[in-house]
Symmetry: C2
Subunit: 168 residues, 2 copies
């Protein structure tokens, strides 16, 4: 179909097509391209992909899907906007504020404003999560030296967080 | 926890609690009450429940979960706001405009403005779906006699739709 071809060439028409887009394999959907996690090169992360499931001009939010592969981690960051998350597949752990939690399929995670957060996949697993976010939102902030010192004052948090400076 | 007790008594604090709320059984989550599908008595539906997964003042959308039991159907309706849907569990069918589609877990469904839509569970199954919607939105419209006549001009649609007037 002409529509299918269009969708595969563009990243932001996915929400505009009426009706059904089927799952084609776990964490993959017809007409939804798999994209790099971040545009900015300075935000540390590892082995994460991003898909934009719904982004329609009539919808005040974007509904995204992120997948963190084994050994990977999302960027440790905070921002004014909130994140509404549901784990879609796989198991892992998340940091929200100073709390580290095990998460698995269908678990819900809410990330309040200005709260440090990071997702990591369990050893031998990936973790894929749905994330709904305001279409209009502020840019994420990365932790500075003082933020990292504060985070690392908690031994469990110090062991969990990944900032891109870890030894391989 | 005091928080749990509060959440079970109120429908709109679910999005405000930071961190993880685990799935407790398929389609059920800690601290998320199962509610009636509709407040209004005039909207026909059958065997549908509603849960508000995220509704935070900082989030421009609400993230809901609806579950249609065997033999049940959501209300046949349309509205200016759009629906972003992912099937969460079970199998069923949906009408979007004049198109009837089989849907199963993880399939995506987009419902554009002013488009008639209805979900039904397959025989012997239930269908549970996630639905993201603008927090500020118009009220759904029910089909009038002319709308129903137009919908029923398509034989497949005529056989699919449920309006509450069917014989048992």
């Amino acid at each position: 179909m002409a529509n299918d071809q269009t969708a595969s060439q563009s990243v932001d028409v996915s929400g505009e097509r009426p009706g059904v887009r089927a799952q084609t394999s776990p964490g993959r959907w017809a007409g939804v391209p798999v994209m790099p996690y971040k545009q900015s090169a300075d935000a540390p992360f590892r082995d994460v992909t991003r898909q934009l499931l719904f982004a329609d001009p009539n919808l005040a939010c974007e509904w995204r899907y992120f997948e963190v592969d084994e050994g990977g981690y999302s960027t440790l960051e905070r921002h004014d906007h909130v994140h509404a998350v549901m784990i879609h597949r796989g198991k892992g752990q998340c940091l929200v504020g100073a709390t580290i939690s095990d998460v698995g399929p269908s678990d819900l995670v809410f990330i309040p404003p200005m709260t440090w957060h990071q997702f990591r996949a369990n050893r031998g697993d990936c973790v894929g999560f749905l994330c709904v976010v305001n279409a209009a939102r502020d840019r994420p902030q990365l932790p500075g030296p003082d933020d990292l010192a504060a985070l690392r004052s908690d031994a469990a948090v110090a062991g969990f967080i990944r900032t891109g400076n870890e030894k391989a």
